[in-house]
Symmetry: C2
Subunit: 198 residues, 2 copies
DNA sequence: CGCGACGTTGATTTGCCTCAACGATTGTGG
DNA sequence: CCACAATCGTTGAGGCAAATCAACGTCGCG
């Protein structure tokens, strides 16, 4: 019997690889279920990132605070997404990101040491994470391209098209930060777009 | 006896995984060595990306041409780097990038079908590519952060610090394209930097 | 030699930011 | 249950970073 809160993650895994009953059991033993309240931190910059996080329910954000004190959102994560500071998780270096909750959120965590153990015991997970990273890499490459060759308005339109489910859940100023513009300017853009659609 | 042109790639692989003699033999059988002249294309946008390319000698670039006809450089690749249109290679969709040679270049190619076969026959390669993609993902994330929170001058300084070996080999206008600014503006920046260092 | 690629310089324009002020909404403690 | 603060979005004036456009110098190469 699988604990119901783990079901979404097992479904996720089965999209990439097939586990035997025994492997599944081991995999489940590496997981920890945890809840965070809105505004609570999963990770603070400077700390070591100790978990890979799978979002069961809710919404998280990873952001970077630049030398001027301005925060920049790197990533949102809603249901069925993963989030962590991969550089810190991978090398053990202090993290450069903060991760906190934009809503009350449930996550499943894999601790760093168990994570590496997992790859040793069940090499299929190398496959799964290779495929996941391939997709993540492609998405990041697309984001770089968008930043290079689109003006603010087009980047916003591309964002709401690609991530409508996120756009409807997070405040506009957070989206502005993700897109690399000020909230004031995003407001201008939205006004213009609204005016055009008449 | 390993053909000398394959030596650098085997060294590369050994930094991630250990192959048995037999595995190494199979791996070598999947490779194709090839030369390109300066300005020659490895991949044109719209075609399917049929190879993962490892650079033995020379310099390549991947770039995207936006709807206005302006090219934007996604990536440079010099010795010991990999380059491809991963989205196209992975899904079989038409590529959105062009890849061509900035110098006469030697590459080792793994064809798409052999590439997937490789993961089936030697799962260690899942591990290797997982680790490679982890690094590539982190680098891309850093580039996104730099674009979000640095002005043009700082992005340029960060670039020459991180990729001095590339900066000294490719024309300035190419670097400007990679950094998302005009060649004219990069020229201004360099003038200012030179003036400061007196 | 002459053409094309590359870099530079300067004048002008523009996309986006800064700063400041002001509603609207939410939520929270008294 | 109200009062007040905090959060969020909007609007506008002014400023700056970077783009555009155009002209010119230099170098390597066919």
């Amino acid at each position: 019997m699988v604990a119901p809160e783990n079901k979404p993650l097992l479904d996720y895994v089965s999209r990439f690889i097939q586990l035997t009953a025994e492997e599944e059991k081991y995999f489940l033993s590496t997981l920890k279920h945890r809840r965070y309240l809105k505004r609570q931190f999963l990770l603070q910059a400077g700390d070591e990132c100790k978990h890979e996080n799978y979002v069961v329910k809710g919404c998280l954000r990873a952001y970077f605070v630049d030398p001027n004190g301005t925060p920049h959102i790197i990533q949102f994560a809603i249901e069925d997404w993963w989030i962590s500071d991969l550089a810190s998780l991978h090398t053990g270096s202090p993290s450069t990101f903060n991760i906190d909750a934009l809503e009350d959120t449930e996550v499943i965590q894999i601790e760093r040491s168990r994570f590496n153990e997992l790859f040793e015991k069940i090499p299929k997970f190398d496959r799964m994470f290779r495929l996941m990273l391939t997709n993540a890499f492609i998405a990041h490459q697309q984001r770089i391209i968008d930043n290079l060759c689109m003006p603010a308005k087009d980047r916003y339109l591309a964002f709401i098209k690609r991530y409508r489910n996120i756009e409807q859940r997070v405040p506009q100023n957070q989206i502005a930060s993700y897109l690399g513009m000020t909230p004031e300017f995003l407001s201008q853009i939205r006004k213009k777009i609204a005016a055009e659609n008449l």
